[in-house]
Symmetry: C2
Subunit: 563 residues, 2 copies
């Protein structure tokens, strides 16, 4: 065998530079992903699996692989964000230019103010944020809070507790849990006598937590930031329970969050690892190839069947007949009718695995019906989920077409998860396990979709929650206004007033309208003398006069608050 | 002049090792502050201002200086947390032993599970978190969420918006803003052509944000984590408004947060930079020494007057007569009576600054009375606040004795802030300024006090928020339970049920009691047939039978929710 001696080509040179660059920065453009990352990724210089000699490129490439193409398109454009070697800079600019036309037709995100205002170097001090960083303004923060509040509310509705685990885990905790995704784990070389890895998800640390604290049952959520920038948001149930009841709860929870966020139609795809294994076995896949073939099936949502088949046959050495047979099954999707049909399927009839999986999904459908969350549930045999640790039901929620301003087909997965009954046992010295099921929200994508939706609808996004504005019709009433503020706050009502001693009445009413504050409490000298106030609805401009001591009750009623 | 050549003494050797150690770890014990940090700090090896040649020791020492002695005492004990040079390890152990007696009398915090379970090295794989890290369990997370929810609620009550700024700022943004605290700023050497510093507070970045975006008025809050571990939580009002109205709002906000957290009696100390300057001027301090003398006065809460006087005279070159005169004033504290007395004070009568400040505080008292938040307000002439940027009203909230299980005197400052009218203008090319006032909560201290308080009261701290438990009295009712869960969730009621097909009735009622779930909905076969449910109050065990369609209303009424 003649193996070519590795030589450094012109194309490889930037990789070494890139590695040095990425030892200083999180991304090509600095500390925020941008089109520069996309440019370098698509330059053809970066191999699918960078060698160990380029640890920073490996880390970066693995991290970039966690973004979908939709997310990559949503990255802000590249503006000179950090110091860069000339050759690397050339590479970036060449490739940015190549994809430049596509970029130019899109609106430039307005939020890269830091980079933009940094250009003028004539003044002695340029007011800007550090290169590659940005501020998040009130509207962006309000969208995040709204999405999180909705999700937290649903978590609490299900009686979940919250935990937090460290950003790093011992490398051994993470190894052997993720299958082909293991290559995405970012190792930190020897840190004080321990080999550590950056956690890859929140599930394996959760299983470690359950095993370490000898917990027999817990329902917990965990919200964390990855790489300082990206949020992760997980919900899991651990415990030995009767079949499919916690599984149905997870489906219900996804259903509730997506319904409440009101992002339009969605589908929750569901499948079962045992059904997949049953199909693989019945089609003639040797059992040691179940997992690699499962990983290939997992690519079906982004890759045409022909390419997946090629991977099965060429890369994973499967007989082409067997692959074709698998193809017949993984294309199927439906509801209870499909389940019934498969129970009678000649090949699957004798597969214990397949029959057990089909019985589970049938029961899951029944529970989801009782919970009122079955309408969006689709049994999809092409759903595989990449990670090795799943053992039972798996699911993925997909938002349907028309959700984005572009309105072009599904926007992709916004939540996913499944059952992993063996993971906790992998950490227990006696292999004692605790069955688990969980799900993870694509929270950054939900932020982006929510913001886009609200902009598209020209919805006036409130960045405050004020319920009442206290206004005065004449001069010298600042103390009277403050007393009303004190009264309303005391009753738990969100209320504001002007900071001016003698604000103009029109300005005050305008402020309430501009900020969509639903109610205005209006006082003048006669109102104060008579012990009454005027209560005005901003939307209708309707006014009623009520006694001061009845104000709180009246406000609460109009806001739909409990009295 | 003979200056001694610097020589490396035995004591200095560990400093070089310490610097190398701290280049790898955030703290002496790893990634969490511990008694090891206290041991090294008190070993006598670390100079008050470490030289620039030891950048990591400088960073660490500056960071440690931000903890009060109370906070240092609350650090967990040191357990071998990370790899350490023998000499450094000796230093740590020698000094830990020295302070060991004091330590032993206290209860060991139970939360350092990671370190503890890492000892047994007999097994092939020890289940633990990385050295120096820990998990946060449901109770700790529930306390944090409770404190944050209270604070957010008050922020929203005042109509504040949220923003987020980067962890780093250009060094120029931070320089010249903090006075003597400037030495605590952690610089990052040249990062891609820019000199960056880790932000020191959230106030200066806020002023930069206001100036950069040409904002004329905003009321914002910002919650951030410092050094990945510690939360900061700020509220600020920017805008040109009438005197003392926003200032009174800040006092009211502190009052509301501390009242709602129910941590017992507290005092909000208030003073005015103009009053201090007026006093300094009237006593004969040259104006260029106003700021250094103000910094000295700032130490009065931790240092006896004699030492502060010494600093004024010996270090800052003040005449001892002048220092004594200042001493007469800064010891004073009171309410409106003191204000009136000082307005007539012979020395202050002709000081424009002092009279302006006294008029402001008088007006502030009036507004706080109207807002109903003046009871805890104390005019304290010894309050100075260290930072240079304050220009007007300054305040600090202190919890009083008996709040902690030890019950020994005030636990120290839990919030503080003031007016800084010049800061935004420092960033504007035309020096156009926006007056600002703000406050910062000592959020980590509030977490600790709240947790301590709840443990001391043996209060059963709920880590869930479940309102209703759905139970069945007989077998085969899982679908009926799930339907009720669906119904209650649909109505926004937090409800749980057992994951077992046929749970025992006593176990279900016990679960509701153990978890302090206020209501139980109980069904049996006859209830389902008749279309009714039993509604049981967990605390009283009182049961009523109601129609199924009236369940939501009945639950809402009992929970005090709006219908």
């Amino acid at each position: 065998m003649e193996e070519k001696c590795p030589s450094y080509t012109v194309q490889e040179l930037p990789l070494i530079l890139l590695d040095a660059h990425l030892s200083q920065y999180s991304y090509v453009g600095g500390f925020q992903p941008s089109q520069a990352d996309v440019a370098v990724l698509t330059s053809g210089c970066v191999p699918p699996s960078p060698p160990r000699t380029l640890p920073n490129v490996r880390r970066w490439a693995a991290h970039m692989a966690t973004f979908s193409s939709v997310e990559c398109l949503a990255f802000p454009p590249y503006t000179l964000g950090c110091k860069m070697d000339d050759q690397l800079s050339d590479l970036v600019h060449k490739n940015i230019k190549m994809s430049g036309e596509a970029q130019n037709s899109k609106k430039c995100p307005k939020n890269n103010k830091g980079g933009e205002s940094g250009k003028g170097k004539s003044g002695k001090f340029t007011l800007k944020t550090p290169k590659g960083t940005r501020d998040y303004g009130p509207v962006e923060m309000a969208v995040r809070r709204q999405v999180f509040d909705t999700i937290y509310d649903v978590f609490h509705m299900h009686g979940a507790v919250e935990i937090e685990t460290p950003v790093f885990e011992l490398k051994e905790v993470l190894t052997g849990k993720y299958g082909e995704d293991s290559k995405l784990i970012y190792d930190l070389e020897d840190q004080g006598g321990e080999i550590l890895s950056l956690r890859y998800d929140l599930t394996v640390p959760f299983a470690r937590y359950v095993a370490m604290n000898k917990i027999t049952n817990i329902k917990r959520y965990h919200v964390a930031r990855r790489y300082r920038e990206f949020y992760q948001c997980d919900f899991d149930i651990a415990g030995q329970y009767d079949a499919m009841i916690p599984d149905a709860e997870c489906i219900q929870l996804v259903h509730q969050v997506l319904s409440r966020l009101n992002l339009g139609d969605f589908t929750v795809k569901v499948n079962h690892r045992k059904i997949l294994n049953g199909v693989f076995g019945a089609c003639g896949v040797p059992s040691e190839k179940f997992r690699p073939i499962c990983s290939a099936v997992d690519k079906l949502d982004k890759t045409p069947w022909e390419d997946v088949r090629k991977e099965m046959v060429d890369e994973k050495g499967l007989d082409s007949d067997v692959a074709d047979l698998i193809g017949e099954y993984v294309k199927l999707s439906g509801r209870e009718d499909l389940l019934e049909k498969l129970k009678q399927d000649e090949r699957l009839k004798n597969s214990t695995d397949a029959q057990a999986g089909l019985a589970d999904i049938t029961l899951l459908y029944q529970y989801c019906k009782s919970l009122g969350c079955d309408v969006h549930l689709v049994f999809d045999m092409g759903l595989a989920r990449g990670l090795d640790y799943y053992t039972g039901v798996i699911y993925e929620a997909v938002l349907m077409a028309g959700q984005t301003s572009k309105g072009e087909g599904p926007v992709g997965s916004v939540a996913g998860g499944g059952r992993y009954d063996g993971l906790v046992g992998m950490f227990d010295p006696k292999k004692k396990t605790v069955p688990c099921i969980g799900l993870s929200f694509g929270i950054e994508r939900l932020f982006a979709i929510q913001e886009q939706k609200q902009r598209a609808e020209n919805e006036k996004l409130r960045s405050t929650q004020t319920e009442v504005f206290v206004a005065a019709a004449c001069k010298g009433m600042v103390h009277d206004r403050l007393k009303l503020i004190g009264l309303l706050h005391e009753a738990g009502i969100k209320a504001e007033s002007s900071y001016k001693n003698n604000p103009k009445i029109l300005n005050q009413l305008q402020y309430a309208e501009d900020n969509a504050i639903p109610l205005v409490v209006l006082i003048g000298e006669s109102e104060v003398q008579e012990g009454v106030v005027k209560l005005r609805e901003t939307a209708t401009r309707a006014e009623v006069t009520i006694k001061r001591e009845e104000l709180v009750l009246a406000v609460r009623q109009r806001l739909g608050k409990n009295s």
